[in-house]
Amino acid sequence: MPLLEVENLEVRYRTQAGEAKAVDGVSFVIEPGMCLGLVGESGCGKSTVAKAILGILPPAGHIAGGAIRYAGRDLGGMTPRELRAMRWRDIALVPQSAMNALDPVYTVESQLAEAIAAHQAMPAARRRGRIAELFELVGLEPDRARDYPHQFSGGMRQRAMIAMAMVLDPGLIVADEPTTGLDVLVQDQILRRIRDLHDRLGKAMLLITHDMAVVAENSDRIVVMYAGRVMEYGGEAVFRTPYHPYTLGLCNAFPDLAYRARALISIPGTPPNLVAPPEGCRFQARCPFATARCGTPPPLIEVAPGHVVACHHVDQAERFRERAADPETWREPAR
């Protein structure tokens, strides 16, 4: 049984312009012990997916359809009480910018202890022991536990957040842009720590980031999102042999330290307005290969086992890959 199933998830936001379909029919599955990488550009809805899973959508947002099942239980069908009991014990979060993720007026230790206290009765001494243990685990000095968040550096805060996520030994950890804003060296350390947890403790992870290299290095499976929809979903092949033009575009645009001489190519245009998205494929307006068929919703086509692409033209993927390497293909059409 999968640990987490997200099925046709739809999340909408009320905005002044109308309802924005921030997430529109997203489905994926996380098996126990698996790390799923969710990659996409800003505004594609990847953080909204995380928030929906954790049940912390802002007041303006709501789940409009689909289901999120944790260990077979539908989160939508739970009472608030059950939901609250489930949170953090089963699904914990390592958020973006830990700077603001910790309450500045409480010590780090008390915030960790609070998470424990909310879910299980544990004597204070044991709680402290547990926190010290976790601090060791993430590479922090246990005596720093009684410091306030501002006394930590960015990297230390992020480690503390990891410790906090681990505090109840949850089944799934959602890491939402865990290294954004951190320096390369620190980012590397944090990622290694996360991967370590995943490898050593067998934690299932949902790793959300805009950095394709991070996903490529750390994930077993990859979901590429664009404008609230899943474009491509699969194993590492997603980046190695992409099918979807968007994934292709991303790979071409991504500067990789390992490749020496390759022209970087950007994708012209801007993402669609989510209040009134175009019919059919959301990428069509920016896609150099778009045809009239793209005006209808693209089918999900399994191009290889476990590798699903939402495109009408998967059959032409080979040709796309060739043409996509040519910057002229992506030349912005004159308006």
Binding site: G55, A85, R87, W88, P95, Q96, A101, E114, A115, Y148
Partner: protein
């Protein structure tokens, strides 16, 4: 020297500097405005010799800078001299009046802050609700009504018409004496209700609006999401949010106390409260300039000290600034 101690000493120095400027302004006001200061002290009935002697006594014949230095030195040492008309030291008079004023404003302050925080926290937490709109609007209207107007209205209703509550003063004639007996007596509490009500109705606005807006700000903070994700019950999250929202309130309370201390002239007159503001009005009318000068000085000093305390307190309360 620790950072805090250094910050503190720096602030103290600045405070002294500021106070010196204010004292200089006061000195200039009382001595450089048109008119002969001697005219304040002396009577037309006196012989010229007596007046000259009197001027000598007050040091008014000295050059202005000698007077200035003496004045600054005296003020710095809290030697305000004696009242012209009440044979008591100005310091003793002011102390008594400040105590009385505090006996009015502190209860009001505590109620305003506590109640205001609670209301503001709920208003901010339940953003957009009808309750919130009502709260904010009521707060604004209460704040806008001039306190002297409201004061007279409540006196008319509760005191003169309904006769439920006493019409002013700190106690009934013959009420308890001695500070502790007084402020623990039911009589004092009865006298406190009306002025306190007027003050609270006005002063509660600040905490309500302040806590509400900082609540709104904090509500959007990431850590609130984390708290929710941690599965904490709503009230625990509210506690977290409120604690954060209270930080700016600390500064506000100090500023508000300062404002209250200087600004209760109107209520003190309307409620016949023997406080500092009323003392100042009377002193000015009586030309008891020693008292007036001392009162303004004490008020300015209190304001500045409270600001200092607020800053320092903020340093203690907010771990980030430690």
């Amino acid at each position: 020297m620790s950072r805090l101690a250094h910050a503190f000493s720096r602030r103290l120095l600045l405070l002294a500097l500021t106070m010196w400027c204010i004292l200089t302004i006061l000195f200039a006001l009382f001595r450089l405005l048109p008119g002969d200061p001697a005219a304040i002290f002396v009577d037309n009935n006196m012989s010229i010799e007596m007046i000259e002697h009197q001027k000598q006594l007050w040091g008014l014949n000295d050059p202005w800078w000698v007077q200035y230095i003496r004045y600054i030195a005296n003020m710095a040492l809290f030697r305000f001299g004696d009242s012209f008309f009440q044979n008591q030291t100005v310091a003793a008079i002011l102390l008594e009046k400040i105590t009385n004023t505090c006996a009015m404003i502190f209860p009001a302050l505590v109620i305003s802050v506590v109640l205001g925080t609670i209301i503001g926290a709920f208003a901010g937490w339940r953003r957009g609700g009808r309750l919130e709109q009502a709260t904010v609007t009521t707060a604004l209207i209460l704040h806008s009504a001039p306190s002297f107007f409201v004061g007279i209205l409540v006196l008319m209703v509760f005191s003169y018409q309904l006769r439920w509550l006493p019409p002013g003063g700190m106690t009934s004639p013959g009420g308890p004496e001695g500070f502790w007996d007084l402020i623990t007596s039911a009589d004092y509490l009865r006298h406190l209700i009306l002025p306190c009500m007027v003050l609270v109705s006005r002063e509660i606005t600040g905490p309500v609006l302040l806590v509400r807006s900082s609540m709104l700000e904090i509500k959007g903070a990431d850590f609130i999401d984390i708290l929710r994700a941690k599965g904490l019950p709503e009230w625990r999250i509210l506690v977290h949010a409120t604690r954060n929202a209270l930080l700016p309130l600390v500064t506000y309370i100090a500023v508000m106390t300062g404002l209250l201390l200087q600004g209760q002239v109107l209520l003190e007159i309307i409620f016949a409260w023997p406080g500092l503001g009323r003392e100042l009005v009377t002193a000015l009318a009586d030309l008891d300039y020693q008292v007036a000068q001392g009162a303004v000085y004490v008020m300015a000093l209190t304001i500045l000290l409270l600001n200092l305390v607020a800053d320092m307190l903020y340093g203690f309360i907010d771990p980030r600034s430690r």
